[in-house]
Amino acid sequence: MKKTTLPSTIYVLLVFAFLYVPMLIVAVYSFNSSNSTGVMEGFSLRWYVELFKDEETIKAFYNTIILAITSAVTSTVIGTLAALGIDKMKKSWRRSGIMTVTNIPMMNPEIVTGVSMMLLFVFIGSFLKINGVLGFWTLFIAHVTFSLPYVILNIMPKLQQINPNLAEAAQDLGCAPGKAIRKVVLPAIKPGIMSGFIMAFTLSLDDFIISYFVSGPKFQTLPIRIYSMTKKRVTPDMYALSTIIFVVILILLVIVNMNGLKGEQSGKKGAVK
């Protein structure tokens, strides 16, 4: 057991080659000195410089970050509260009904989620006679909505692991119910809240399909900017942009994972004690 044979090693390498070759091409051509994404003429940082001169792209970058932070914070707050509440509901049709509705944005094709929200916003817009209703707020609402199920799904299992007597014990010892939640329950589910937040943040950063339907010309995010650029022939600056985003997310993930490992180790030590 635990021995990897040669054919299976080759198989793993082949699948990884399939997964990584297109990414390698993006990274390599982002350093191209000519404006082609097909012919490599020489090494240069020209497209990275060019990228930082492109005001539209820089603006889209700021928009994306603002949207990701605000929507992730909001969905984490609403989602944590929701998990606390749903956890106390009895297993009945009401609880499973709530969970089903919560999971709809996760199960439905993204295009349907995007289109359905667009219809709502346009309907409200025409009802209130607002011109150009699609913008930051519609994107914000959409991102909170599709992140919520992920936040709740990250927290619910942690809540189920808590010994229910713990919060009661705290209250018996004179803790107010709100304080019991803050002092006992929240610390126990903190890892779930964190991973829910990070998931909401990265989902928001990367989302294209839903954003495409609920955004207007006034407020563009990076994926939407990339989409409008890929309608024409792409110059390597889009490749440079994707390489930068990719590296940033990768660094974030590594930091998060190292934190997780540390947490696990200290958790184990705690258990040994």
Binding site: M1, K2, T4, Y11, V12, V15, F18, L19, V21, P22, M23, I25, T37, G38, I78, G79, L81, A82, L84, G85, K88, M89, I98, V101, T102, M107, N108, P109, E110, I111, V112, T113, V115, M117, M118, L119, L120, I141, A142, V144, T145, L148, I152, A167, P177, T202, D206, F208, F213, I226, Y227, T230, V234, M238, Y239, S242, I245, F246, L250, N257
Partner: protein, 277 residues
Amino acid sequence: MNKKNLLRQKLCAAPHLVWSAIFIVVPLVMVAYYSFTNAEGQFTLENIYRLSDYTDTFLRSLWYGIVATLICLVIAYPLAYIISQMKVRVQTTMMMLVMIPMWMNFLIRTYAWMNILEDSGIINKFLSLLGMEPVHMINTGGAVILGMVYNFLPYMILPIYTVLAKLDRSLVEAAQDLGAGKVRVFSKVIFPWSVSGVVSGITMVFVPSVSTFYISQKLGGGTFALIGDVIEMQFQVSNNFNFGAALSLVLMVLILICMAVMNKFSSSEDVGGGMVL
């Protein structure tokens, strides 16, 4: 905990319930409402009748989705199994490597395939270097399916790996001790154990494949329009929200039916396994 506090904690879910009602349930009602009305808001079945013009597109989307899902399953299952047999530390690294490509923008990943498959693209340049005839690959159905497989493959690997990693080795050993060959061990022990992972993998690949529009635009060149392309066009180009809503409604119902069939199939499988035990 007394009743009052219990109620108070349940009330924490209220903001979420209100939010979901307004931004999940109402939009779906809007899709149905728009499907059965015309631009003036009067009731009509015209949009539903018009759907029959797009039967071919629906069938093509379903067919491409099924083919892409099956290819993903065939590639992902052995990989997930091999990884699940490695040392635990290596397993984590391997799964990180599987997930990392997902963090490059989906649009750019697809666009890179255009660079590879084009008539003057990377593969064809390579072929001409070897003195071979160029092959036409871009703007074919095969290119679209390749794009789906490439983009959604990690979604298949992850759930299958997760269940296989939990497989108790002693079950396999017990089967071997009782004289089961490799094929029987796989069909009677390993595969039944992994069915739940396979089902969620299939769901996670099939749904985005059937409803995609960017992949077919870039790698199919518009000649292989899928249902996602038609929906996107109704909303972003021709501004026919009512017909677009009808298309979305049918897409949603189609996927729901496919999922229901899947779930029925998988739960009967579970029952079968239970009976054997």
